[in-house]
């Protein structure tokens, strides 16, 4: 063991001198890593400490960041992304199979064919509905999964399954918290996991959507609010901003340095001094990142910011890109309420949800691509469930809608290592159940983690005497058919967590 201790001593000395210009934060992190090497992190032998400093991945990642455009309510796949000619043929007839309904009072078994036309798009020829003209136009960049399955119809149940690994269970970390825990943060100026909420209000399941569950709040999503203050406590009250706060911080730094000088081997004191520096940097960085007036008119129009009804969602999509550009790891956009929950009047409510999101979503992918960022950035578009092929009878054709369907539905990805221009998996002939290449939210998590260079099984967090993982030990797989081929990766035998 001796040589290694020597090596560590050298590292400590080297890091203190800061020969490579490594900041105090990085130094603190690397020093902490020394401890982590000696003991496997899955069995904490020391009082647990947590940080956000960059971590080594298990293998070479293809994705560095992710933007999730979460479509609350359950977009109607058979009207948008999953053409079902058989369903149209049987329109109005009784469905012979079993249906899992949520709202029995309005349940019917009358099949409801789509009211919209599908046609193939791009070189790949994937079929999309006329309701999504902009998304259709980037078909060749999209990896469409038509065989999602949560097995549960409820919104919260399935949302939590997607976000934190077990259907319906609260109190677990969002997968983005896991990403932060496993990867650390690239940016030292901005929170690395950001949530962009809708000005109209919180999404269904509210703040549970960005909870760090049993992990420390360090890994929790930071909400970028639609109005001022955009980030809580980021700015001082007006009368304390500018020179006054600089004086405050400088005075504080002097006090803290004098205090720290009295002690040795108390790294927490330095870390806290650094955290004030970070807080001050965040103020400038966040202001700059949110200022979309710096973008050209052409870019703004790409997102539909110049007109209604895309202005608001487009603005948030553009902010998401700006955040990722500045090193933010994960951004998730939420919608207020559930615009895709088309239980009634689907003929009008579905087109309206499409109009708000179609252009901004496609614009984001195009913009990332033209900037060369798409290769390393995953875009995810999708809800927690889809909708049933049968009519939810609300009295009269104009009022008809579709009930929840967790048995089969679509989501799509672009970039970050997902195969572009493909459609994967199938639902049955009417679109009720996923029947081929079924993908669950746990597979979704495993695949995302793989693209980020992490073995999800090996990324463990010690909680309540148990080793927790993002998939909660449930069956999961990396869906290798939908990701770009790569050099085979080692399966974690050289990874610390496996010890």
């Amino acid at each position: 063991m001796q040589p290694i201790f020597d090596d560590q001593h050298n590292r400590r000395a080297f890091l203190r001198q800061g020969s490579l210009g490594i900041g105090a934060l990085a130094a603190a992190w690397m020093l902490k890593q020394d401890g982590a090497i000696a003991k496997p992190p899955n069995i904490p032998k020391e009082e647990p400490t947590y940080d956000l400093l960059p971590k080594q991945t298990h293998f070479e990642p293809t994705a560095k960041a992710m933007i999730s455009l979460f479509q609350h309510g359950g977009p109607s796949h058979m009207d948008l992304t999953d053409p079902k000619p058989e369903l149209s043929r049987l329109d109005g007839t009784e469905y012979g199979g079993d249906v899992a309904y949520s709202f029995v009072n309005a349940a019917s078994k009358k099949l409801l064919g789509t009211r919209w036309k599908f046609r193939p798009h791009g070189e790949c020829g994937t079929e999309y509905s006329e309701l999504l003209p902009e998304i259709s136009s980037i078909a060749d960049d999209i990896c469409l999964v038509r065989s999602m399955h949560t097995g549960a119809n409820g919104h919260e149940v399935s949302i939590r399954y997607f976000h934190s690994g077990i259907p319906g269970v609260l109190g677990r970390p969002h997968y983005a918290s896991w990403l932060l825990y496993g990867l650390g943060s690239e940016t030292q100026n901005l929170p690395s996991y950001m949530v962009l909420t809708d000005p109209a209000g919180h999404p269904v399941d509210s703040t549970n959507n960005w909870s760090s569950g049993f992990m420390p709040p360090l890994y929790q999503g930071t909400v970028l609010r639609p109005r001022e203050p955009r980030i809580l406590n980021l700015e001082a009250p007006a009368h304390l901003q500018g020179a006054i706060q600089e004086q405050n911080l400088s005075f504080l730094a002097t006090l803290n340095r004098q205090h720290a000088g009295r002690f040795s081997n108390e790294p927490d004191l330095d870390a806290r001094i650094a955290s004030y520096e970070l807080a001050a940097r965040m103020q400038t960085a966040a202001r700059e990142a949110l200022d979309i007036s710096r973008e050209t008119k052409a870019t703004q129009e790409l997102y539909g910011i110049h007109e209604e009804p895309t202005r608001e969602y487009g603005t948030r999509c553009l902010i998401a890109r700006r955040l990722v550009e500045r090193g933010v790891r994960f951004v998730q956009l939420f919608l207020s309420g559930q615009p895709w929950d088309n239980h009634s009047s689907i003929v009008t409510s579905l087109p309206s949800a499409c109009k708000k999101t179609d252009r901004p979503s496609a614009g984001l992918v195009r913009d990332l691509k033209q900037r060369g960022m798409l290769d390393e950035t995953i875009v995810h578009w999708g809800g927690e469930i889809g909708r049933l092929p049968v009519t939810q009878d609300q009295g009269g054709a104009a009022k008809h809608g579709r009930d929840h369907n967790g048995q089969g539905f679509s989501i799509w990805f672009a970039g970050g290592g997902f195969k572009p221009g493909m459609a994967y998996g199938k639902t049955d002939e009417v679109g009720h159940r996923a029947v081929e290449n079924i993908v669950t939210p746990n597979d979704y998590q495993a695949t995302l983690f793989h693209l980020f260079g992490l073995n999800w099984k090996d990324l463990v967090f010690h909680h309540n005497g148990q080793q927790q993982m993002v998939t909660a030990g449930r069956a999961a797989k990396v869906v290798s058919d939908i990701i770009n081929p790569r050099t085979p990766v080692s399966s974690g035998e050289d990874n610390v967590a496996a010890g």
Binding site: R225, N256, R262, R272, M282, V496
Partner: protein, 1031 residues
């Protein structure tokens, strides 16, 4: 980066070192690996997958359906190894780590040795091997020999056995760090025992105490403080999983009575309830309390309150999830709380299968479950409301009934009155109709609704005004409403006198209820297997001597299982309980446990750094009658605890110097409140409400200043400030808090509303309490910018119409407003005050006056508005009076506004211009605002003076400012500033005053540039490491 490259190397080295040292044996090296990965299918259960049993080496060699699993000495030919290496085994996602695979390989290669001959036959299950049984935490507690303390040289500074045992563990020649200086020690003891800072006065008293035993007396005094119980209750409430809400479902409904358990815990610590008793009452208080005969006695109430411990687990069965899963989850969580808090074992890991690391068979889990099943029977469930225990006494009930009876005659009177009104209204209404319609309508109306004919119904529909009801009666007879309301009020007043029914959140086992406990296959309640009897853990008793608990006690109506369990825990022989408790106490005293996984004394936990000390403490704790306060005394008396944290002495060895401890979330908030003088030290009671602020953060509702311990713990709504500093968000319970250091904490301290508010209050407090700094000290300090000679003053006086002059006396007191004294009304000056923008009148003789003294000859015009906002009172009268020209204008404002313009007039240097407001006839509702702009030309210069911007507090002298800084330092940091610090702070304040003045920033109400600068100083101290960490 390099960290990863090093990792495999280290693993390899560490494995090799194991290999080099001793030959591998099955029992010691292999079985734990199999236990973790294989036994679920190959040994733990009767059904063996593939017929393969891995419990004995010879059974492996024999193998299963696929032939021999191992070939001794030939790892290459061992099928088991192939299957593991290929990743086929174990099935599913888990893989055996490579380091462990290589150990298995080496072992086979070395001939698959065992430590002893294997038994001829083997019973069901995994059993417990001597190796497993020999794990340190299952060994009896053994009090070590401690060197005779008197034999040690004084320079070793060994005061207690604790010191002797720590010193023994330190490298040869090491010595303890010096004792911390007295001030540091006083501060440390205060925070450690009460979680609150000493007041500056207490600090001074103790610093100057010359008696030898000052320290012992200090410790004793603080142990007697009621705040001691608050502080140490909080530690226990963490591990008990205290919450004021039920969790589990989205509703997260409130638990209205959990706080009584919280208060019980506080009292238990304050009374120094022996810890064994503390445990027994929480586990089995209801069984001790005996049956209720008549009213509950105070003893019974206390005992039942204690069982709140077993009602802390999340429970969704009263909020929409009264199903089998949710009920079983309550049991699961309850057992987890019991296991982690008292046994220091992850008992919960044996719910679905034998524990993968520790010798806890699945049957043990269900044996413990059987202890709790009679009270928490998922098949005869009670929801949280159903479990409440009412505290209503017979007298309460009688009083209640008596009062209800008193309402009866009033209700009857009301009914009669109502009927009269209804009749009157009907008759009056009917007069509007001619016969025969009139009679038809009357008959239809008077026929009960369900007996009306279709014709009658239609008649009433067509003539809606006949449909008189109690609800619309007032539209016919207006006076009926107030009249009837009088009766309602009388009834409500009587009912308000009824005693309020309070409840306990308790666990009470029903009499004669002893359900069978079944082992659940894979933990699934839908797959019950064999019955399991209540018993203790196999491994905690010598082989073959496991105590079982009687399934049903004949002495008490309940089964007595929990009482037996609790007595077993505290019988003094239990290897875990005392160790677990003293380790927790040690952890809170030092910030680090002797076993730093306080809830896991098993294989996945860490081993004790000082096993002898742990055992000595555990034994001594029991010998001292499980007295927690005695234990504190013992720790606090030790040299180890008293060491300084400064780097100037001591060593880096474990406990060779004091480590800094960051304040807990609650203590940070409490300390700010204490420093600002705002802390409300009331003990006990209902939780303090929380709310979402307009940014969506959870904050403490309103200006509530109780200790953080009393802030409502809603699982789904953690208070942002407390959560940021690592207060637990209760899912089940909190075994140990992490200590995070993140920018969000910094932002919260820099910009958060709470910190800024407390900083302002501390600045105000210092301003009113500080003594000016002495001149000789002042001489060495940096200068403070001179207050700009103010031309404005705030005072009171009267306008004399004869002389056309105002009298003027300066207000004596400033707290942001100028007024007569600290509180209004002031004894002498009553309600009179002036604020930045307005004020309040008192009398003709005491009318507030805002006075401007003209600096240079020139010309002035005035524009402004006097506003009286209240709809009540007779309004106010404003006058502008020049000392040379007399009255310039007068205006009256009453529930409205008056423009107060004065066209240009001449002024001479030294003139005064007074804005005087009098109360007219009386001063009720006489709040007013009056701001004005003066356009003032002198020579070629023209300036605009605004009365609100010119408003100032008293000009603070440098001596006062320095004095305030000293006071702020004492209140915030519990010490006076060093000269260099005072000097630094003076420079800071001076810089800020300059910046505020030069920027002309509008400051918040009641903040002058000086006061704001002092506020910022307070805020910096609140954010400082010295404030957040205790040395």
């Amino acid at each position: 980066m390099f960290s990863r490259r090093l990792a495999p190397l280290i693993l390899l080295l560490s494995c090799q070192s194991v290999l080099a040292q001793e030959p591998l044996t099955f029992e010691k090296h292999i079985r734990p690996i199999f236990r973790a990965h294989c036994y679920d299918c190959h040994g733990a259960e009767a059904e063996l997958k593939g017929g393969l049993d891995l419990r004995l080496v010879r059974l492996m060699a024999k193998g299963g359906e696929s032939g021999p699993a191992i070939v001794s000495g030939k790892s290459d030919e061992s099928y088991l190894l192939d299957r593991i290496k290929s990743g086929e085994m174990p099935p599913g996602e888990h893989r055996v780590p490579d380091a462990q695979i290589s150990i298995i390989q080496q072992w086979i290669q070395q001939g698959a040795k065992t430590s002893r001959p294997e038994p001829e036959s083997i019973g069901p299950g995994l059993g417990i091997t001597p190796e497993e049984r020999s794990f340190w935490s299952f060994q009896p507690i053994q009090r070590p020999e401690v060197t005779d303390l008197t034999s040690l040289p004084p320079q070793a500074r060994v005061r207690t056995a604790i010191d002797a045992l720590i010193l023994k563990s330190m490298p040869e020649g090491s010595a303890f760090a010096n004792d911390a200086d007295r001030r540091t020690l006083i501060r440390r003891v205060y925070f450690d025992l009460t979680g609150l800072p000493p007041t500056p006065e207490a600090l001074e008293t103790w610093e100057q105490d010359t008696a030898n035993d000052w320290y012992e007396r200090l410790v004793d005094e603080l142990l007697e403080s009621p705040h001691y119980g608050e502080r140490w209750a909080r530690h226990w409430l963490d591990v008990a999983g205290y919450a004021d809400s039920e969790g589990y479902t989205n509703n997260d409904s409130e638990r209205p009575w959990a706080w009584k358990y919280r208060d019980w815990v506080i009292r238990a610590f304050n009374e120094d309830k022996p810890f064994n008793q503390f445990v027994i009452e929480q586990i089995a208080g209801d069984e001790l309390a005996g049956p209720q005969q008549g009213d509950l006695t105070q003893d019974q109430i206390n005992l039942l309150t204690a069982t709140g411990f077993l009602r802390m687990a999340a429970d969704g069965t009263g909020s929409g999830a009264n199903n089998a899963e949710a009920r079983n989850q309550v049991m699961t969580d309850t057992l987890k709380i019991v296991g982690t808090s008292l046994l220091g074992l992850s008992l919960q890991c044996a719910q679905c299968h034998d524990h993968r690391y520790d010798p806890i068979p699945q049957t043990d889990y269900y044996a413990v479950r059987a202890v709790f099943e009679p009270a928490l029977d998922w098949q005869a469930w009670k929801d949280p409301n159903g479990r409440r225990v009412s505290l209503f006494t017979k007298a309460d009930r009688e009083k209640s009934a008596e009062l209800e009876a008193q309402t009866k005659p009033i209700a009857a009177e009301r009914a009669t009155k109502l009927a009269e009104y209804m009749q009157q209204a009907l008759e009056k209404e009917l007069t509007k109709y001619e016969e025969p319609l009139r009679t038809q309508l009357k008959t239809a109306y008077e026929t009960p609704g369900n007996k009306r004919t279709a014709e009658q119904k239609s008649l009433l529909t067509k003539n809606p005004s006949i449909n008189i009801s109690p609800g619309n009666l007032y539209q016919y007879i207006a006076e009926s409403k107030p009249k009837l309301a009088e009766y309602d009020k009388k009834i409500a007043d009587i009912r308000a006198k009824k005693p309020v029914e309070e409840f306990l959140r308790a666990l009470v086992e029903p009499a004669n209820h002893a359900p069978e406990t079944k082992l659940f296959y894979r933990g699934d309640h839908q797959q019950p297997k064999q019955s399991v009897a209540p018993a203790s853990l196999l491994v905690t008793a010598p082989e073959g001597k496991r105590p079982e608990f009687a399934a049903n006690s004949s002495d008490i109506p309940s089964t007595g299982r929990r009482l037996a369990f609790a007595r077993w825990l505290t019988n003094g022989d239990h290897p875990l309980v005392a160790r677990v408790i003293v380790n927790r106490l040690w952890l809170h005293h030092f910030g680090k446990g002797l076993v730093n996984t306080p809830a896991d004394f098993g294989k996945l936990g860490v081993k004790p750094t000082h096993p002898e000390l742990l055992d000595w403490l555990a034994d001594e704790f029991m010998q001292q009658g499980w007295s927690v306060k005695q234990f504190h005394r013992m720790i606090l008396r030790s040299t180890v605890w008293r060491q300084s944290a400064d780097k100037t002495s001591g060593t880096t060895a474990s406990f060779g110097r004091r480590k800094l401890q960051r304040l807990d979330a609650e203590t940070i908030r409490d300390r700010m409140l204490a420093a600002s003088g705002q802390l409300d030290r009331t003990l006990f009671g209902k939780p303090v409400a929380i709310k979402l602020d307009d940014t969506g953060q959870v904050i403490v509702n309103g200006d509530q200043r109780r200790r953080s311990l009393y802030v409502k713990v809603r699982r789904s709504q953690p208070v942002a400030m407390l959560q940021a500093f690592d207060a637990p968000v209760m899912q089940t319970n909190c075994e140990m808090r992490p200590t995070s250091t993140v920018a969000t904490q910094s932002l919260m301290l820099m910009n958060g509303e709470f910190t800024l508010k407390q900083a302002a209050r501390l600045a105000d407090r210092a301003a009113s309490e500080a003594q000016p700094c002495s001149d000789d000290r002042l001489a060495s300090l940096p200068a403070i910018p001179k207050p700009t000679a103010s031309q404005w003053a705030c005072g009171y006086g009267a306008f004399n119409a004869d002389t056309q002059k105002c009298s003027f006396s300066q207000f004596p007191f400033f707290n942001g407003n100028w007024q007569g004294g600290e509180k209004l009304p002031d004894g002498k000056l009553g309600w009179a005050f002036l604020s930045r923008t307005g004020g309040h009148t008192q009398s003709a003789e005491i009318s507030p006056v805002r006075r401007w003294t003209v600096p240079l000859d020139g010309r002035v015009s005035i524009a402004g508005a006097l506003h009286h906002g209240s709809p009540n009172g007779d309004g106010v009268q404003g006058r502008i009076v020049s000392s040379s020209q007399g009255l310039l204008g007068e205006w009256t404002a009453r529930s409205g506004k008056a423009e107060t313009s004065v066209s240009e007039f001449e002024v001479k240097a030294g003139d005064t211009i007074d804005f005087i407001t009098d109360c007219r006839a009386n001063h009720t509702s006489d709040s007013f605002t009056w701001t004005a702009k003066l356009t003032y030309s002198s020579g070629s210069n023209t300036v605009t003076l605004e009365t609100d911007k010119e408003f100032q507090g008293p000009a603070e002298s440098p001596a006062q400012i320095a004095g305030q800084i000293e006071r702020i330092w004492q209140l915030a940091l519990c010490r006076s500033p060093e000269p260099s610090e005072l000097s630094l702070a003076m420079s800071f304040v001076s810089q800020q005053i300059d910046t505020f003045r030069s920027r002309g920033t509008t400051l918040p109400d009641k903040r002058t540039p000086v006061r704001q600068a002092m506020t910022n100083l307070c805020q910096a101290l609140f954010s400082s490491n010295e404030f957040l960490y205790i040395d």
